[in-house]
């Protein structure tokens, strides 16, 4: 008989792996990708491919020549970062800007902190916000969806216009009433389907929700972060709307517009940059929801999800320090 293996329990391990989780997220992103290509045509494909390939390339170069660690591309996290970055960009963004975004995301936001598991800020969002601040014109030049028309093969040569949130900011500046504003934006069905201007992966609410359902089913994420973000947004905008329906848009508009769903479902739930305990995750989500609406209604930018998530990312260590999971037997201990 050959030698027996002797090690500590547990002797049986589960089927979880980083790969399984990451590829699960990728599958959950597919419906959104299909809708993006449907609405934005070739541009969506070009931007997505550029972003994913350059993310993989930077990850490879950095791990091999700078960090000198084993190759980590197969774990799928760089692919996700690339895909999520693309989803946060307009589909007519020039290729060179996409590459810069991927560089900032992978090299600066992720690898410079030590790679997967060590970065405090969501890499894709750092990439996006860097581009937004540095090239505000290109980053807010939103193509209008033109499903399966002769515009399908157009890339940068597309009709552009403001997003529903851009129009909301304008209406609020001008003091227009909400009923007048409602006529300028797509109806809720169109918003649910994603037939509106915006980043290529943020428009299709229904596809994002399908991805959410898939990730919940596969136990890749839990409901805590997305639901607390969306719940906070609903309650906050709901109160404002009930107080003054002429001045403020209703909660449904806020839920369906901009990057809220993409942010709540796919960006804020990034494992590395979100809190560990359920209590902490709910506080994190509430913070994101509040900041998003504050920026949307009173900030300089029409959309605030990216900023809100990045700001809350900075609070994660302190949330982890004070928001411990509820210990077994804790309640009874306090009564003593």
């Amino acid at each position: 008989m050959s030698k027996l293996i002797v090690s500590l329990s547990p002797h049986q391990l589960g089927t979880n792996s980083v790969k399984r989780l990451m590829y699960g997220v990728l599958i959950a992103l597919l419906p959104t990708l299909f809708v993006s290509v449907w609405f934005f045509g070739l541009g969506a494909i070009v931007v997505t491919l550029t972003s994913v390939l350059s993310a993989i390339m930077f990850e490879f170069l950095i791990t091999k020549y700078v960090l000198k660690k084993p190759n980590t591309i197969s774990d799928g996290s760089a692919i996700i970062t690339g895909l999520l970055l693309a989803f946060n960009l307009p589909s007519n963004l020039p290729i060179w800007l996409v590459i810069i975004g991927a560089f900032v995301a992978i090299v600066i936001a992720k690898s410079s902190f030590g790679g997967l598991g060590n970065n405090p800020f969501n890499p894709a969002l750092v990439g996006r916000v860097f581009l937004l601040i540095s090239w505000p014109v290109q980053m807010t030049n939103w193509p209008i969806p033109s499903p399966l028309s002769d515009k399908f093969l157009a890339y940068t040569d597309v009709t552009t216009g403001a997003t529903p949130l851009g129009k909301l900011a304008e209406a609020m500046r001008n003091g227009d009433s909400m009923s007048a504003f409602a006529e300028r934006v797509p109806d809720y069905i169109q918003m649910l389907l994603g037939n509106m201007g915006g980043s290529l992966g943020e428009v299709a609410a229904i596809a994002l929700l399908i991805g959410f359902a898939y990730m919940l089913m596969k136990k890749i994420i839990t409901w805590h972060i997305p639901v607390s973000i969306l719940g906070t947004v609903t309650i906050f905008t709901g109160i404002l709307w009930l107080v003054n329906p002429v001045k403020f848009a209703n909660p449904l508009f806020h839920l369906l517009s901009g990057g809220l769903l993409l942010g709540a479902i796919f960006m804020a739930t990034d494992y590395v940059t979100s809190p560990m305990s359920k209590r902490g995750q709910i506080i994190f989500g509430v913070g994101i929801g509040l900041l998003t609406i504050i920026i949307r209604l009173w900030g300089a930018f029409p959309e605030g999800v990216s900023f809100a998530i990045l700001i809350m990312n900075a609070f994660v260590p302190i949330i982890n320090m004070y928001m411990k999971p509820k210990r077994f037997g804790e309640k009874v201990k306090e009564q003593d």
Partner: protein, 444 residues
């Protein structure tokens, strides 16, 4: 909705390969190795010497303190020697080696199969009999049972909870016992109720043992105060604190014993042993052991005298498979890996699991991605990722503040980790260091 415990938990593949296999009696070997430490607490003190003749059931080592247990001879024959033998702990410890000669039992023991329902003993008499018989918790923890029957001053037992959960994958010895010795077990439960002076007992059984739930529910109607509580399948429900939470909804405070919430927990196997000790005067000399594994030819459940080398058991199951990588005493989640097949079966041996090499290998450790799955599954509400880091960095004071001592070592965190990090290994290290720190503090 079936009851279960409140937080965390996992659901590993059940793999109850031997669930349909009736309990068989394994032949007595030519020589037995009876360790004197088969329980938690002080080792028993050896009472015999070389060449002494012993009978089955004769006391051969007496309890070495309050938390300790008697050891009786599982065979008849002549004491060969008292020597150090590798046991399930992996260490060489004192054991009595007996050369078997026939099967002659101590005259006091009633060996008939007849069910004896009625008893007329006081609480004190029962506890004394349980203590004399050397009964310990047969779920695997091997805590001396008589200690659990004597609640400390100022506390009172309200309910007896019987653990029929058997949440470890593969193991089926409790399951078979519940099916084949149900009446004896129910009488044993009534005896335990009398000892604890409680009116109520609940038997917690997971829903993957529907036949046992049905069988015991039907029979328990004839026994006053005993009910069966079916539970949702969820590991580690067999943990004492988890079971109490699942059955009566109370949380045992951190650092306290179950009696703090009025509960006392005993295993189904223990209840059966109590029946035999009280009604038949039979000390604890044998138990049911599951022998199992994916490559094992004939997985099964065997009634085995203590001191029998596990190699005998493996032979009875069709021999050691070619692809054997690991032999585990107990289940795959909390059992101990054994380094030889000459280890003797002892009171805490609930099963022997033989794992193929491929499954037994540890996987490569990858960086933590902070997915929080370990936090999600921890049944004690701890943060395994943090406790591992603190142990690695030797920050033991902080570990203590983070309640590392609450860890029940169920292994759910290591099982779940997508990066295959050995969380529990490091948490054990942390517990060990914090324990040492506390002992040093109390001596000052």
């Amino acid at each position: 909705m079936l009851k279960t415990f409140a937080k965390g938990g996992i659901h590993p593949p059940e793999n109850k390969l031997s669930a349909d296999k009736k309990i068989e009696t394994l032949a007595i070997p030519k020589q037995v190795f009876v360790p004197v430490s088969q329980h938690i607490g002080a080792p028993a003190k050896v009472l015999v010497k070389k060449n002494d003749l012993v009978k089955v059931g004769q006391l051969i080592a007496e309890q070495g303190g309050f938390v300790s247990a008697n050891i009786h001879s599982p065979v008849s024959g002549k004491v060969f020697k008292v020597d150090n033998v590798t046991d399930t702990s992996g260490y060489k410890r004192q054991a009595i080696i007996i050369n078997v000669d026939g099967d002659e039992w101590d005259g006091k023991i009633d060996r008939s199969e007849e069910l004896k329902k009625d008893f007329d003993f006081t609480s004190e008499e029962i506890i004394k009999k349980v203590q004399e018989a050397g009964i310990v918790g047969l779920g695997g923890a091997t805590f001396p049972s008589h200690v659990k029957l004597m609640p400390p001053k100022g506390t009172k037992a309200e309910i007896l909870i019987i653990n029929g959960v058997e949440c470890e994958p593969y193991l089926t010895s409790d399951h078979r016992l519940m099916l084949e010795k149900a009446d004896e077990m129910l009488v044993g439960i009534q005896i335990l109720m009398k000892a604890l002076k409680v009116e109520k007992a609940s038997i917690g059984i997971e829903n993957n043992k529907k036949d046992a739930i049905e069988h015991l529910s039907k029979l328990s109607k004839d026994y006053k105060g005993i009910e069966v509580v079916p539970l949702k399948v969820q590991y580690p429900q067999g943990g004492e604190k988890q079971l109490i939470k699942a059955v009566i909804g109370r949380e045992v405070p951190s650092g306290s014993l179950p009696i703090a919430v009025g509960a006392v927990v005993h295993n189904v196997g223990t209840a059966f042993a109590v029946y035999e000790a009280v009604q038949k005067n039979k000390p604890l000399i044998e138990r049911v052991v599951t022998i199992t594994g994916k490559s094992v030819k004939k997985p099964g459940n065997f009634l085995i005298r203590f001191g029998t080398p596990i190699s005998d058991l493996i032979d009875a199951a069709g021999g050691l498979p070619e692809d054997t990588g690991k032999i585990i005493g107990g289940g795959p989640m909390m059992g101990k890996a054994l380094n030889t097949t000459s280890v003797p079966v002892a009171k805490g041996t609930s099963g022997i699991l033989i794992m193929p090499k491929e499954e037994a290998k540890r996987r490569e450790i990858k960086p933590c991605i902070r997915c929080a799955k370990c936090v999600e599954v921890c049944p004690m509400g701890l943060e395994p990722f943090l406790l591992m880091t603190l142990a690695e960095k030797a920050m033991h004071e902080r570990s203590e503040k983070e309640d590392v001592m609450d860890c029940i070592e169920c292994g759910s965190c290591s099982y779940t980790c997508p990066s295959d990090r050995p969380l529990l290994d490091f948490i054990r290290l942390g517990k060990n260091q914090v324990g040492a720190m506390r002992r040093a503090r109390s001596q000052r």
